[in-house]
């Protein structure tokens, strides 16, 4: 009885003293995930949320608002109060590429970046019975026949392949597919010559079900050094994809710093590392909010040049 009175008193005092010595966070934080529940991105976000909960001593309420590659969540989060209690989880290209397509109203300047927590790896895969084994072979085959069928998943991989087609003077027949499953089906069934894929093509390659001819992320595929990157092949383009935590514009610097440091700690947990390396098969990387913003700005510039080159 006595205790509860003291607690009530303390709580009342704290309520008055909030602006002066409030220790963020003092209530649960909403984390809005830009992808549907149950996928690889969502799982990573939920593991990190569990780690953050422990470090912050507050509940993190994870909510999924999937759609348009994170754009739905971005629009939602940027309309919330910048008090740190509404934060979002999307990917780098949600900010570096999607605004360039002119279909969304936001730019990277309309949000506060908190941190980059891990990287995605993307590749181009070919059917097992394709008449080539590597990138050069693919180009030869394409030149000989005059065209190549390519299964695309997102506008960025489409743009990159168009760029390659223009540089190499080969006709690229771009077959749109819905999600990774459609592209996977097209390449395994041999209905296309080449397909964009996430890192889930790697275990398929290791099982001997398909060939991986090139990596699109600039880091390449560490465990398979034989797979070149597009960058290394001299094209000077790449798909930089990473998981990004962000909040509404004009967040308080201290709040951002707090979330940033908690995330920096969360990505070090064994559970998260195991998920990223062995299950998701992405790569470990951590960037602060400022570094994330800089990276996205330079990516956006590169993509702008890429799109200009295609439309010339």
């Amino acid at each position: 009885m006595k205790h509860s009175k003291i607690l009530a008193l303390a709580a009342a005092t704290m309520a008055f003293a909030v602006p002066a010595w409030a220790d963020f966070p003092e209530k649960p934080i909403n984390l809005v995930v830009g992808f549907r529940a149950g996928g690889g991105s969502d799982t990573a976000a939920r593991i990190l949320a569990a780690e953050m909960e422990e470090a912050l001593g507050q509940k993190i309420i994870v909510e999924n608002r999937g759609g348009a590659g994170g754009a739905v969540t971005t629009e939602y989060v940027r309309a919330q109060e910048p008090d740190g209690y509404s934060i979002g989880f999307a990917v780098a290209t949600t900010f570096s590429f999607t605004p360039l397509t002119g279909s969304v109203a936001y730019t990277p300047d309309d949000v506060t970046f908190i941190a980059t927590t891990h990287g995605y790896r993307t590749v181009m895969a070919a059917p097992l019975d394709a008449p080539f084994d590597d990138w050069a072979g693919m180009l030869d085959a394409a030149k000989e026949r005059g065209w190549i069928n390519y299964a695309s998943i997102i506008p960025l991989d489409r743009a990159i392949m168009q760029y390659v087609g223009k540089k190499e003077d080969i006709a690229v027949n771009i077959v749109p597919t819905r999600g990774g499953a459609g592209a996977r089906q097209a390449v395994l069934g041999g209905h296309v010559d080449l397909a964009f894929s996430g890192s889930n093509a790697l275990p398929m390659m290791e099982d001997g079900a398909l060939k991986v001819v090139v990596a699109l992320n600039p880091e390449g595929i560490e465990e398979h050094p034989g797979i070149p990157t597009l960058d290394a092949l001299g094209y000077g383009v790449s798909a930089v994809e990473a998981a990004v935590f962000f909040g509404p514009d004009d967040m308080d610097a201290e709040t951002v710093a707090k979330l940033e440091s908690v995330l920096a700690q969360a990505v070090q947990s064994d559970r998260f590392k195991d998920f990223v390396n062995n299950k998701f098969r992405g790569f470990e990387t951590f960037k602060t909010g400022t570094e994330t913003a800089e990276g996205i700005a330079s990516d956006a510039k590169a993509y702008r040049d890429l799109l200009d080159f295609i439309s010339e």
């Binding site: 149950g38 939920r46 759609g67 065209w147 006709a171 459609g182 097209a186 209905h191």
Partner: protein
């Protein structure tokens, strides 16, 4: 072989058993709640499995999937409030039968057909998965386009009394399905600047809005006029409300046909349960000895749709396990769960994760048995729902629809979509425009669009390559003939 049995025996541990049972119960309950459905049940259950052993976790999710499949039929049959597009097919006969005073009979038919269809396709999965997967892969965009076109032709026989109204409804559905980002150019279509619409109209919200909400409004309109007569009618029903095993056996042809259609559709990724359920229903109508009874509460109709849509779920695991290609949303969620628990789908999965794969098969069989047992025990309780006066139950159902859509589709936007489509559904109901055709157009429209556009692009540089697709050519050529047959037989088949 010894290894397989050892793995299966391993799976028969108490933990696995309990997690399967828990999964089945979660699935039945969430599936049965109007506004919620099986994929939502799985999304809810995945975080629960994070700390479990891989086999227990996957067993539980399989339980949820199978329980949800049957649970979905409960709302469709008892309240005419389907939670997923494919359940709309089950309402065609399920609801009239329940309303006619035989709710338990309707539920029993759904349960037995569902478990039978599921078991057949599981058997195919266990015995033939790797072979079938390779075969299914040969179906590319051209073949899928052909299958979809001929399926749509077959399903057209469900257009109700007026062919013109049926075509109108399907075209409207297909048109609304074009909302969203263009698959090829990524240009937004009919989105009016709403980012929420980029991935298309939220399907669950549209389906529940157009199918379930107008029904709720109609029942509420009756209000307290809901007379004592109706309840007396239900009370009288106890006598022959039960479906005997012998009676179920008379449905065996329908159930096997449904299971066959469901398994074939499920093995081909990207077609899905809605197509299977309606295709099986159309086929049953075609081959039934008494086609005029379908749509008025025939057990045959329920058996056709439930066996087919349940068979899809087992067969969906064929491309999923061996190729990592999920056939529908439920399967896509399972891939995510496999990933979390360190199981990588791929052609070597039977060698790499032997004990887990065969453990999964054992869990599937266990889940089928549990759905049968738990479902049978629950029948009595579920059937009581029809005894609750409509003015009590339907407001609750409406609330559940709103909450379910808000939670699962992420916010109020989807709730508004649901309500807007409720208005559309209400007028369609009043004007006797087939809502079923609308749903078919909505679900199949994007599939047909994508597969045809893919085919055109693939063949654009070399049109002669179409000759490499003889199967597709035969189906395309057969479509007009099938259409002619169906129009000729319309009088016999139409429910009027």
């Amino acid at each position: 072989m010894d290894m397989i049995f050892a793995a299966m025996l391993d799976a028969l541990s108490l933990t696995t058993f309990l997690s399967v049972v828990l999964g089945v119960m979660i699935g039945i309950v969430i599936g049965a709640v109007p506004g919620l459905n099986a994929p939502m049940a799985i999304a809810v259950a995945i975080p629960l499995t994070f700390t479990m052993t891989p086999l227990a976790a996957i067993g539980m999710l399989v339980g949820v999937m199978k329980g949800g499949g049957f649970g979905g039929a409960i709302g469709a049959i008892l309240l005419n409030t389907p939670g997923e597009p494919h359940s709309a097919a089950t309402t065609l006969d399920g609801y009239p039968l329940a309303k006619g005073g035989k709710p338990r009979r309707a539920l029993q038919t759904a349960l037995y057909s569902s478990v039978a269809g599921d078991s057949c396709s599981d058997l195919v999965l266990i015995l033939l998965a790797p072979t079938l997967a390779v075969f299914a892969l040969r179906a590319g965009p051209v073949e899928l386009a052909a299958i979809l076109v001929i399926s749509l032709t077959l399903i057209a026989s469900l257009s109700g009394r007026s062919l013109a109204k049926g075509i109108f409804a399907a075209a409207l559905g297909a048109f609304l399905a074009t909302v969203g980002v263009d698959p090829e150019t990524a240009a937004p279509r009919f989105t009016f600047g709403q980012v929420e619409l980029f991935d298309g109209l939220p399907l669950a919200a549209v389906a529940i809005g157009v199918l379930a909400v107008p029904e709720i409004i109609l029942r509420l309109q009756e209000g307290r006029r809901y007379s004592a007569d109706a309840s007396r009618g239900l009370a009288n029903s106890e006598g022959d409300d039960r479906l005997t095993f012998g009676e179920f056996l008379t449905l065996r042809r329908t159930v096997f046909r449904g299971a066959g259609i469901g398994t074939a559709i499920g093995a081909l990724p990207g077609l899905g349960t809605t197509l299977a359920a309606f295709l099986s229903y159309a086929a049953t109508k075609r081959f039934s000895a008494a086609p005029e009874k379908l749509g008025t509460g025939a057990t045959e109709g329920i058996a056709a749709t439930e066996s087919a849509n349940s068979a899809v779920s087992g067969a969906n695991l064929i491309p999923l396990l061996t190729l990592g290609i999920p056939g529908n949303l439920t399967a896509a969620l399972l891939v995510g769960a496999f990933l979390i628990h360190g199981v990588t789908p791929g052609p070597l999965i039977f060698q790499r994760d032997t004990s887990l794969v065969y453990g999964l098969f054992a869990a599937m069989i266990m889940a089928n048995v549990m759905v049968l047992i738990i479902g049978s025990l629950g029948l009595r309780v579920f059937a009581l729902i029809v005894k609750v006066p409509p003015f009590v139950i339907y407001p609750i159902v409406l609330l559940l629809c709103v909450v379910g859509i808000y939670v699962s589709q992420g916010g109020f936007f989807a709730v508004w979509v649901m309500l807007a489509f409720a208005v559309l559904g209400f007028f369609m109901l009043k004007l006797e425009i087939s809502i079923v055709c609308f749903i078919i157009g909505l679900v199949l429209g994007p599939m047909i669009e994508l597969s045809i556009r893919q085919s055109v692009i693939l063949l654009s540089r070399n049109p002669a390559a179409i000759l490499d697709h003889p199967f597709a050519l035969i189906l395309f050529a057969a479509s007009p003939f099938v259409a002619w047959l169906l129009i000729r037989d319309r009088n016999r088949l139409s429910d009027g």
